[in-house]
């Protein structure tokens, strides 16, 4: 009898990566996988936007300049998502860079899709 292996199919394409992490898109699942801070987390459209908002809202400059004794840790909790990040300030900066790059690439992809497939020449 032939054994049928049910290996999951991966159709990830890398959207953007930096030295500290990467974001992949899965076309079949219509979601993104964020590889950052030692874990791979799945984000759908709404949650990715929420993550972006949460990261962008961290006032990095103020944190850098503040000299109080509270620990240099930022907890990013995303409402209605399974993931949460506990990051140091340097990691927040790295994640912000990763997300900025990602959204630029997604915008670029949008323009390419428009030009190549949507506008009938």
């Amino acid at each position: 009898m032939q054994e049928v292996s049910l290996l999951p199919t991966f159709d990830f394409s890398e959207v953007f990566s930096t030295a500290s992490g990467a974001i992949f898109q899965s076309d079949s699942e219509r979601c993104w996988y964020v590889d950052f801070a030692g874990k791979l987390a799945r984000f759908d459209y709404r949650n990715l936007l929420k993550l972006k908002k949460a990261v962008y809202q961290v006032d990095i400059e103020q944190k850098l300049l503040s000299n109080d004794k509270s620990p240099d840790v930022e907890i990013l909790f995303i409402c209605a998502s399974d993931h949460c990040y506990v990051l140091s300030l340097l990691q927040v900066i790295a994640l912000k860079e990763l997300l900025q790059g990602t959204f630029v690439m997604l915008e670029l992809n949008h323009i390419i899709c428009d030009r190549l497939y949507r506008i009938v020449a």
Partner: protein, 176 residues
């Protein structure tokens, strides 16, 4: 790679943010008109009070129109927080001066959204905004006419009583 974001949402995040700002502005407007209605009522200007109640309702309707548009396009509509609403006015005339200022600022802010849409070639939102431009034409006309009554009739003697009576009759029917 599929363009997932575009499939989920028609408007860009910038336009969405601008419209959410506008939602707040319309809600603020509505609250101000309500406050004006209260002031007019307290001071015996019955017709003006009625006029401002109607305006408050219209602004609320505009707010909902924007709100539903954002949702229909797949965006996130944000219910705004409204604070700092004035309760007292110095004079009857001041109420109408501020009403006109309010309308002018709403028109400007919608123009600002349209400018952004032009830049992004977002013709869908532009078409949606057209309705508001037409509406603002009427709103500004009515606010200006009301203020002009103060010059035409004058505030001396029974002037304010006359003005109040005429405020309710202002109509804009240049074009249906």
């Amino acid at each position: 790679m599929k363009d997932i974001i575009r499939a989920k949402c028609l408007i860009s995040s910038d336009v969405e943010a601008l419209i959410n700002q506008q939602i707040k502005k319309e809600a603020h407007s509505s609250a101000i008109y309500l406050s004006m209605a209260s002031w007019c009522n307290r001071n015996g200007y019955d017709f003006s009070s009625e006029y401002f109640f109607k305006q408050a309702e219209e602004e609320r309707m505009h707010q909902l129109k924007f709100y539903k548009y954002v949702l229909d396009m797949g965006g996130t509509a944000i219910s705004p927080e409204i604070t700092n609403i004035k309760i007292e006015y110095n004079s009857f005339r001041e109420v109408f001066e501020e009403a006109l200022d309010q309308e002018v600022s709403v028109t400007q802010s919608i123009k600002n959204i349209a400018a952004r849409c032009h830049k992004e070639q977002d013709y869908v939102t532009l078409e949606f905004l057209n309705w508001f431009f037409k509406e603002q034409r009427e709103e500004e006309y009515k606010a200006r006419r009301a203020l002009e009554l103060f010059d035409v009739i004058g505030e001396e003697g029974t002037g304010r009583w006359q003005i109040d009576k005429h405020v309710g009759q202002i109509k804009y029917d240049s074009e249906p």
